[in-house]
C-alpha cells in the first residue's frame, strides 16, 4: 500500500468521486439486484472507473426487510464483490459510507464502493419494524417505529398547540421543493392537517413517503480527474442512543449531538460555530427536522434539503446514502456552497445517528 501523506497529519483526504441513485419510487417492478446494478453503474460512470479499480465494497441491507437470509448475497455480483472484500455492516447507507471511509483511513484500501438498497413496497415495512423492538417489554405491545415517532412528536409538542400547524407548513414547504416526479406530490399545509392521523400528532401528509430505491457511492484516496468541483469527506461520526424510549430525553436528539461532535473533532473543526452552507438531514417527519436543527445548531444561514429531503420520498436503509449524494450534488452544482453536512439515522425515533462533513475542494 503506497504511503500517501495527507495534508492534515497522517490522514489522507477522502474524495467522493462517484455517486448514483435509483428512485425512490412507490414501487419498482425490478428485482433488488437489477436496481442496485443500475445505481452502481451510475456511480462508477460518475467516477469514470470500472470494477477493476474498486478495492473493496461496503453494503447496507437488512435481512428481515429483504425477506432473505444474509440478504447482501443477492447483490454480491452486481456490486462487484465476487472474489473481493465485502463488508455488510450497516442498516443505513451513510453508516456504511462512514465505515468505508474508516477502511480507507486504515490504508487497507485506496478505493471503496458503498451500496445500499431498500424496497418498502415488498412487505408491510411498518409492521416489520416491530421486530427491531425489545421483544420482552415492547414488541408484544405491537410498538413499531411509527408509534415511537408519534410519541417523540407528542413529547416535543407537549402543550404547544401550534406545533402541528408549524410542522404541516414545514412538510408542505419541503414537498413543494421536491423535484417533479418525486414520490411525494406538492401539498398545502391545510391539506397536510386534513390528511388522516397515522400516529397522533403525526398526520399522513407530514410523513415522508416510503418507497423503493438503491444508491451507490465511490470513495477514494486518489484525487478524482480534474474538470469538476471535487468533494471531500473531511469528518465523520456516528452514535447509538439507549433503546427504550423512556430512557431518553425525547425532546432532543442527543445522539446526533455526539455524532456531530465526533465528526467535527475528526475534521479538526474546533468551534461550534463552524458554518454549514448545505445540510441534507435524514428526517422522516417535521419534528425530526427540528430535532436535527437543534442538535446541529443550524440556523437560517444554512440551506436545508433544497430538493425536499426525505419528504420528497425515501427508501428505507438507502436514506442516509441518498442524503450524502444530495449533499455532493449540491456542492458540485452550487459554487456558493463550501461545507455540507449529510445525516443518516436508523431505528426508533432516531436511535442510530450518523454524520458526514463534506467540503468542496476548489
Amino acid at each position: 500500500m503506497s504511503e500517501l501523506k495527507a495534508p492534515n497529519g497522517d490522514r489522507r483526504p477522502i474524495f467522493i468521486v462517484g455517486v448514483g441513485e435509483v428512485g425512490p419510487v412507490a414501487e419498482d417492478p425490478r428485482s433488488i439486484p437489477e436496481m442496485v446494478l443500475e445505481a452502481v453503474g451510475m456511480a462508477l460512470a460518475d467516477a469514470a472507473m470500472g470494477h477493476g479499480e474498486i478495492d473493496a465494497v461496503v453494503t447496507a441491507s437488512v435481512d428481515l426487510f429483504d425477506g432473505l437470509t444474509a440478504s447482501n448475497i443477492a447483490v454480491t455480483e452486481v456490486v462487484g464483490a465476487v472474489m473481493k472484500s465485502e463488508t455488510r455492516i450497516a442498516a443505513d447507507g451513510l453508516a456504511a459510507a462512514i465505515h468505508a471511509a474508516c477502511e480507507l483511513r486504515s490504508e487497507a484500501y485506496q478505493t471503496v464502493l458503498v451500496a445500499a438498497h431498500g424496497k418498502a413496497s415488498m412487505s408491510d415495512y411498518r409492521s416489520l419494524t416491530r421486530w427491531a423492538m425489545d421483544p420482552i417489554h415492547l414488541q408484544p405491545l405491537d410498538v413499531d417505529f411509527l408509534i415511537c415517532a408519534g410519541l417523540q412528536a407528542s413529547a416535543m409538542a407537549g402543550a404547544d398547540g401550534g406545533a402541528q400547524r408549524r410542522w404541516a407548513q414545514l412538510a408542505a414547504r419541503r414537498r413543494a421543493s421536491a423535484v417533479p416526479g418525486a414520490l411525494a406530490a406538492a401539498i398545502s399545509a391545510e391539506a397536510v392537517l386534513a390528511s388522516p392521523v397515522l400516529a397522533a400528532p403525526l398526520h399522513e401528509g407530514m410523513c415522508a413517503p416510503l418507497g423503493d430505491g438503491a444508491a451507490a457511492v465511490v470513495l477514494s484516496v486518489r484525487p478524482p480527474a480534474a474538470g469538476r468541483r471535487s468533494v471531500r469527506l473531511v469528518g465523520m461520526g456516528h452514535d447509538l442512543e439507549a433503546h427504550a424510549m423512556g430512557d431518553r430525553d425525547l425532546t432532543r436528539w442527543e445522539g446526533l449531538g455526539r455524532a456531530l461532535r465526533r465528526a467535527r473533532a475528526d475534521a479538526g473543526i474546533a468551534s461550534e460555530e463552524a458554518i454549514i452552507d448545505l445540510a441534507e438531514p435524514s428526517c422522516l417527519y417535521p419534528h425530526e427536522e427540528e430535532l436535527f436543527r437543534q442538535a446541529c445548531a443550524i440556523g437560517d444561514e444554512t440551506a436545508i434539503s433544497p430538493g425536499g429531503g426525505l419528504f420528497a420520498g425515501t427508501a428505507p436503509v438507502v436514506a442516509g446514502l441518498a442524503r450524502l449524494i444530495a449533499a455532493v450534488r449540491g456542492l458540485r452544482g452550487n459554487a456558493r456552497y463550501h461545507q455540507a453536512l449529510a445525516h443518516g439515522t436508523w431505528g426508533p425515533a432516531g436511535q442510530g445517528q450518523a454524520v458526514a462533513l463534506l467540503e468542496a475542494a476548489d
Binding site: 428485482s31 439486484p33 446494478l37 425477506g67 424496497k119 415488498m122 408491510d124 420482552i136 414488541q139 408484544p140
Partner: protein
C-alpha cells in the same frame, strides 16, 4: 426463586419478491418445460439460474442458451432427517435424494431432488433426467425430481 420466563412471539410475514427480467423469462420457459440459461459474452459460461450480470467478468448476461432437461450428476446426498420445505412450510419426510446436476448445455449446476434415495445406487457421473409436474406453473418445483437413467 428464579423462574426463567420465555416470551413467545410468532412471526408471520409476507414478502412480494420481484423476479427480475432474466428469472421471469426462465420461469416462463419452465411452464413449457423449457430450460434456458444466460451466457456471459466474456467468459462464455452459461448460468443457471439466469441473472443480470456475470460476477466474475462484471459483464451483462444477454445471450440466451437453451439447455436440456437431462445431464450429469456432479454431486449427491441422501437426506436422512426430515427438513423444512420452505415453499410449502411443511416438513419433507426423509429419506430423499438430492443432487447437483450439470444439465447438458449449462456450465453451472442446479441443486434439486433425486428420485433415488438409496446411497448404494447413487454415484457421481450418473446420467439423470428431469421428471416434470403434469401441469408446470413456471417455478423450479415444476421439476418434481431427477430420475437416474439406468
Amino acid at each position: 426463586m428464579n423462574e426463567a420466563i420465555l416470551v413467545p412471539i410468532e412471526m408471520a410475514a409476507t414478502w412480494r419478491y420481484a423476479s427480475g427480467a432474466a428469472m421471469e423469462r426462465f420461469c416462463d420457459g419452465l411452464r413449457e418445460r423449457r430450460i434456458e440459461a444466460l451466457r456471459c459474452g466474456v467468459c462464455r459460461r452459461s448460468y443457471l439460474p439466469p441473472r443480470p450480470i456475470c460476477g466474475n467478468c462484471h459483464a451483462p448476461l444477454s445471450e440466451w442458451v437453451s439447455v436440456a432437461d437431462e445431464g450429469r450428476l456432479e454431486a449427491w446426498t441422501v437426506l436422512q432427517v426430515p427438513m423444512l420445505d420452505a415453499r410449502t412450510g411443511s416438513i419433507r419426510e426423509a429419506p430423499y435424494g438430492m443432487g447437483l446436476i450439470r444439465l447438458d448445455g449449462a456450465d453451472t449446476t442446479i441443486n434439486h431432488y433425486l428420485a433415488e434415495s438409496d446411497p448404494a445406487r447413487l454415484a457421481i457421473g450418473l446420467r439423470v433426467r428431469a421428471v416434470w409436474r403434469p401441469e408446470p406453473r413456471g417455478a423450479m418445483d415444476d421439476i418434481v425430481h431427477f430420475e437416474v437413467l439406468r
